[in-house]
Protein backbone atom coordinates (compact mmCIF):
# COMPACT_ATOMS: atom_id res chain seq x y z
CA UNK A 1 0.00 0.00 0.00
CA UNK A 2 1.32 3.38 -0.97
CA UNK A 3 0.96 6.24 1.49
CA UNK A 4 -0.82 9.28 0.17
CA UNK A 5 1.15 12.54 -0.04
CA UNK A 6 -0.84 13.89 2.91
CA UNK A 7 0.23 11.01 5.15
CA UNK A 8 3.84 11.53 4.17
CA UNK A 9 3.75 15.20 5.03
CA UNK A 10 2.34 14.62 8.49
CA UNK A 11 5.42 12.96 10.05
CA UNK A 12 7.60 15.54 8.36
CA UNK A 13 5.72 18.43 9.92
CA UNK A 14 5.85 16.67 13.28
CA UNK A 15 9.60 16.35 12.93
CA UNK A 16 9.82 20.04 12.08
CA UNK A 17 7.74 20.93 15.12
CA UNK A 18 9.95 18.76 17.32
CA UNK A 19 13.01 20.43 15.89
CA UNK A 20 11.53 23.85 16.58
CA UNK A 21 10.76 22.86 20.17
CA UNK A 22 14.27 21.58 20.60
CA UNK A 23 15.65 24.83 19.30
CA UNK A 24 13.46 26.78 21.73
CA UNK A 25 14.78 24.63 24.57
CA UNK A 26 18.34 25.35 23.48
CA UNK A 27 17.73 29.10 23.45
CA UNK A 28 16.04 29.00 26.84
CA UNK A 29 18.86 27.12 28.50
CA UNK A 30 21.73 29.33 27.29
CA UNK A 31 21.84 31.50 30.46
CA UNK A 32 21.99 28.46 32.74
CA UNK A 33 24.52 26.77 30.50
CA UNK A 34 26.74 29.84 30.71
CA UNK A 35 26.38 29.87 34.49
CA UNK A 36 27.33 26.22 34.87
CA UNK A 37 30.30 26.68 32.52
CA UNK A 38 31.39 29.80 34.40
CA UNK A 39 31.44 27.91 37.65
CA UNK A 40 33.39 25.05 36.10
CA UNK A 41 35.97 27.23 34.28
CA UNK A 42 36.03 30.31 36.48
CA UNK A 43 36.77 32.41 33.43
CA UNK A 44 34.13 34.11 31.33
CA UNK A 45 35.70 33.64 27.90
CA UNK A 46 36.66 30.01 28.39
CA UNK A 47 33.24 29.32 29.86
CA UNK A 48 31.42 30.90 26.94
CA UNK A 49 33.52 28.91 24.47
CA UNK A 50 32.65 25.77 26.37
CA UNK A 51 28.95 26.62 26.46
CA UNK A 52 28.89 27.38 22.73
CA UNK A 53 30.58 24.12 21.90
CA UNK A 54 28.12 22.29 24.13
CA UNK A 55 25.25 23.95 22.28
CA UNK A 56 26.59 22.83 18.93
CA UNK A 57 27.11 19.31 20.27
CA UNK A 58 23.59 19.22 21.65
CA UNK A 59 22.16 20.24 18.30
CA UNK A 60 24.14 17.52 16.55
CA UNK A 61 22.98 14.98 19.13
CA UNK A 62 19.35 16.07 19.32
CA UNK A 63 18.09 12.67 18.16
CA UNK A 64 19.55 11.15 21.33
CA UNK A 65 17.36 13.36 23.49
CA UNK A 66 14.14 11.71 24.59
CA UNK A 67 11.33 14.29 24.60
CA UNK A 68 9.64 14.47 27.97
CA UNK A 69 12.84 13.73 29.88
CA UNK A 70 14.80 16.43 31.67
CA UNK A 71 16.35 18.63 29.02
CA UNK A 72 18.32 20.63 31.59
CA UNK A 73 20.03 17.53 32.96
CA UNK A 74 20.71 16.22 29.44
CA UNK A 75 22.25 19.52 28.42
CA UNK A 76 24.34 19.87 31.57
CA UNK A 77 25.70 16.38 31.01
CA UNK A 78 26.82 17.27 27.50
CA UNK A 79 28.55 20.38 28.80
CA UNK A 80 30.36 18.66 31.68
CA UNK A 81 31.43 15.74 29.49
CA UNK A 82 32.87 18.18 27.01
CA UNK A 83 34.58 20.07 29.84
CA UNK A 84 36.31 16.91 31.05
CA UNK A 85 37.24 15.88 27.53
CA UNK A 86 38.92 19.22 26.93
CA UNK A 87 40.53 19.21 30.35
CA UNK A 88 42.03 15.77 29.80
CA UNK A 89 43.00 16.03 26.16
CA UNK A 90 44.17 19.61 25.87
CA UNK A 91 44.70 20.70 29.48
CA UNK A 92 42.87 23.71 28.22
CA UNK A 93 41.11 24.53 31.44
CA UNK A 94 44.11 24.04 33.65
CA UNK A 95 44.83 26.21 35.48
CA UNK A 96 41.49 27.50 36.51
CA UNK A 97 41.48 31.23 35.73
CA UNK A 98 39.02 33.42 37.57
CA UNK A 99 38.70 36.63 35.62
CA UNK A 100 37.98 40.24 36.32
CA UNK A 101 35.58 41.12 39.11
CA UNK A 102 33.68 43.52 36.88
CA UNK A 103 32.25 40.59 34.94
CA UNK A 104 30.49 39.24 37.95
CA UNK A 105 29.94 41.87 40.57
CA UNK A 106 26.49 42.85 39.40
CA UNK A 107 25.18 42.95 42.94
CA UNK A 108 26.81 44.21 46.09
CA UNK A 109 27.84 41.58 48.60
CA UNK A 110 25.42 41.26 51.46
CA UNK A 111 26.37 42.23 54.97
CA UNK A 112 27.50 39.67 57.47
CA UNK A 113 27.69 36.18 56.05
CA UNK A 114 27.46 37.30 52.44
CA UNK A 115 30.05 35.86 50.10
CA UNK A 116 31.53 37.83 47.26
CA UNK A 117 30.95 35.75 44.15
CA UNK A 118 34.45 36.39 42.84
CA UNK A 119 35.94 35.03 46.07
CA UNK A 120 33.73 32.01 45.75
CA UNK A 121 34.94 31.43 42.18
CA UNK A 122 38.53 31.59 43.37
CA UNK A 123 37.72 29.17 46.14
CA UNK A 124 36.02 26.81 43.67
CA UNK A 125 39.17 26.94 41.60
CA UNK A 126 41.14 25.37 44.43
CA UNK A 127 38.90 22.30 44.42
CA UNK A 128 39.20 19.17 42.30
CA UNK A 129 36.87 19.65 39.30
CA UNK A 130 34.60 16.82 40.45
CA UNK A 131 33.92 18.55 43.78
CA UNK A 132 33.46 21.94 42.11
CA UNK A 133 30.97 20.38 39.72
CA UNK A 134 29.03 18.71 42.54
CA UNK A 135 28.76 21.96 44.51
CA UNK A 136 27.60 23.89 41.46
CA UNK A 137 24.96 21.33 40.58
CA UNK A 138 23.69 21.39 44.15
CA UNK A 139 22.35 24.89 43.45
CA UNK A 140 21.37 24.27 39.82
CA UNK A 141 17.74 23.49 40.47
CA UNK A 142 18.17 19.81 39.58
CA UNK A 143 17.05 17.02 41.86
CA UNK A 144 19.48 14.62 43.50
CA UNK A 145 18.94 11.79 41.05
CA UNK A 146 19.32 14.20 38.14
CA UNK A 147 22.59 15.53 39.56
CA UNK A 148 23.87 11.96 39.85
CA UNK A 149 22.84 11.37 36.23
CA UNK A 150 24.61 14.52 35.03
CA UNK A 151 27.79 13.50 36.85
CA UNK A 152 27.46 9.84 35.91
CA UNK A 153 28.13 8.74 39.50
CA UNK A 154 26.13 7.15 42.31
CA UNK A 155 24.27 9.56 44.58
CA UNK A 156 26.56 8.67 47.49
CA UNK A 157 29.55 9.89 45.50
CA UNK A 158 27.76 13.15 44.67
CA UNK A 159 27.08 13.82 48.34
CA UNK A 160 30.59 12.84 49.35
CA UNK A 161 32.05 15.28 46.85
CA UNK A 162 29.75 18.02 48.11
CA UNK A 163 30.75 17.38 51.71
CA UNK A 164 34.47 17.40 50.95
CA UNK A 165 34.22 20.36 48.58
CA UNK A 166 32.30 22.31 51.19
CA UNK A 167 34.86 21.61 53.89
CA UNK A 168 37.75 22.76 51.69
CA UNK A 169 35.82 25.78 50.43
CA UNK A 170 34.86 26.77 53.96
CA UNK A 171 38.51 26.73 55.00
CA UNK A 172 39.42 28.78 51.93
CA UNK A 173 36.67 31.35 52.54
CA UNK A 174 37.58 31.65 56.20
CA UNK A 175 40.79 33.24 54.99
CA UNK A 176 44.50 32.70 55.23
CA UNK A 177 44.65 33.21 58.98
CA UNK A 178 46.99 30.29 59.39
CA UNK A 179 49.12 29.27 56.43
CA UNK A 180 49.63 25.74 57.71
CA UNK A 181 49.31 23.20 54.91
CA UNK A 182 46.28 20.95 55.12
CA UNK A 183 46.85 17.40 56.26
CA UNK A 184 46.91 15.09 53.23
CA UNK A 185 43.96 13.04 54.45
CA UNK A 186 41.67 16.07 54.26
CA UNK A 187 42.95 17.30 50.94
CA UNK A 188 42.60 14.38 48.55
CA UNK A 189 44.05 15.06 45.12
CA UNK A 190 42.23 12.26 43.40
CA UNK A 191 38.60 11.35 43.52
CA UNK A 192 38.51 7.68 42.83
CA UNK A 193 36.04 4.90 43.44
CA UNK A 194 36.87 4.82 47.13
CA UNK A 195 34.72 7.92 47.50
CA UNK A 196 31.68 5.66 47.53
CA UNK A 197 32.91 3.91 50.65
CA UNK A 198 33.75 7.18 52.32
CA UNK A 199 30.37 8.67 51.47
CA UNK A 200 28.63 5.79 53.20
CA UNK A 201 30.75 6.38 56.26
CA UNK A 202 29.97 10.08 56.27
CA UNK A 203 26.25 9.44 55.95
CA UNK A 204 26.32 7.20 58.96
CA UNK A 205 28.21 9.80 60.93
CA UNK A 206 25.48 12.44 60.74
Amino acid sequence: MTASPGEERQPESQALAAEARFRDDLVAIIPSLRAFARGLCGNRDLADDLAQEALAKAWAAQKSFTPGTNFRAWMFRILRNHFYTLAVVAKRFVPYEPDDVSHLQTTQPEQGNGIVVQDLLRGLGTLPAEQREALLLMESGLQWDEIATVMGTPLGTVKSRITRGRATLRRYMDGPADPIPLPPAENPKKDDGSAITRATGADQMV
Binding site: V27, I30, I115, V116, L120, D145, A148, R166, R170
Partner: protein, 70 residues
Protein backbone atom coordinates in the same frame (compact mmCIF):
# COMPACT_ATOMS: atom_id res chain seq x y z
CA UNK B 1 34.11 17.55 63.87
CA UNK B 2 31.26 19.74 65.01
CA UNK B 3 31.74 22.03 62.06
CA UNK B 4 31.86 19.14 59.63
CA UNK B 5 28.63 17.84 61.08
CA UNK B 6 26.96 21.21 60.67
CA UNK B 7 28.14 21.44 57.10
CA UNK B 8 26.80 18.00 56.36
CA UNK B 9 23.47 18.99 57.80
CA UNK B 10 23.47 22.14 55.75
CA UNK B 11 24.16 20.04 52.68
CA UNK B 12 20.96 18.17 53.35
CA UNK B 13 22.63 14.98 54.45
CA UNK B 14 21.03 15.05 57.85
CA UNK B 15 17.70 14.31 56.29
CA UNK B 16 16.75 11.11 54.60
CA UNK B 17 16.16 12.50 51.17
CA UNK B 18 15.16 10.32 48.31
CA UNK B 19 16.87 10.60 44.96
CA UNK B 20 13.84 12.38 43.52
CA UNK B 21 14.02 15.34 45.86
CA UNK B 22 15.85 18.58 45.23
CA UNK B 23 18.82 19.42 47.42
CA UNK B 24 17.40 21.46 50.29
CA UNK B 25 18.79 22.93 53.45
CA UNK B 26 17.35 24.07 56.71
CA UNK B 27 15.93 27.53 56.39
CA UNK B 28 17.07 28.62 59.84
CA UNK B 29 20.65 27.60 59.22
CA UNK B 30 22.82 30.19 57.47
CA UNK B 31 24.74 28.61 54.62
CA UNK B 32 27.04 31.19 53.01
CA UNK B 33 28.46 28.69 50.53
CA UNK B 34 25.07 27.67 49.17
CA UNK B 35 24.03 31.34 49.12
CA UNK B 36 27.19 32.26 47.22
CA UNK B 37 26.70 29.45 44.73
CA UNK B 38 23.12 30.51 44.11
CA UNK B 39 24.28 34.08 43.64
CA UNK B 40 26.83 32.88 41.09
CA UNK B 41 24.10 31.14 39.10
CA UNK B 42 21.76 34.11 39.34
CA UNK B 43 24.38 36.68 38.38
CA UNK B 44 25.45 34.86 35.23
CA UNK B 45 21.89 33.94 34.28
CA UNK B 46 20.97 37.63 34.46
CA UNK B 47 23.75 38.66 32.09
CA UNK B 48 22.69 39.45 28.52
CA UNK B 49 23.51 36.53 26.23
CA UNK B 50 26.55 37.41 24.07
CA UNK B 51 26.01 37.65 20.33
CA UNK B 52 28.25 34.66 19.66
CA UNK B 53 25.52 32.41 21.02
CA UNK B 54 22.96 33.89 18.67
CA UNK B 55 25.42 33.40 15.81
CA UNK B 56 25.56 29.71 16.63
CA UNK B 57 21.78 29.50 16.51
CA UNK B 58 21.80 31.32 13.17
CA UNK B 59 24.25 28.77 11.80
CA UNK B 60 22.07 25.96 13.12
CA UNK B 61 19.02 27.49 11.45
CA UNK B 62 20.88 27.94 8.19
CA UNK B 63 22.05 24.33 8.28
CA UNK B 64 18.54 23.01 8.93
CA UNK B 65 17.06 25.16 6.17
CA UNK B 66 19.69 23.83 3.77
CA UNK B 67 18.92 20.27 4.86
CA UNK B 68 15.23 20.78 4.26
CA UNK B 69 15.85 22.42 0.90
CA UNK B 70 17.96 19.55 -0.43
Amino acid sequence: MDRLKKESLAAGQGKHESAGTAPVRRVNQPDPIADGLRKLWENVEKEPVPNEFLDILDRIDAASAKERGS
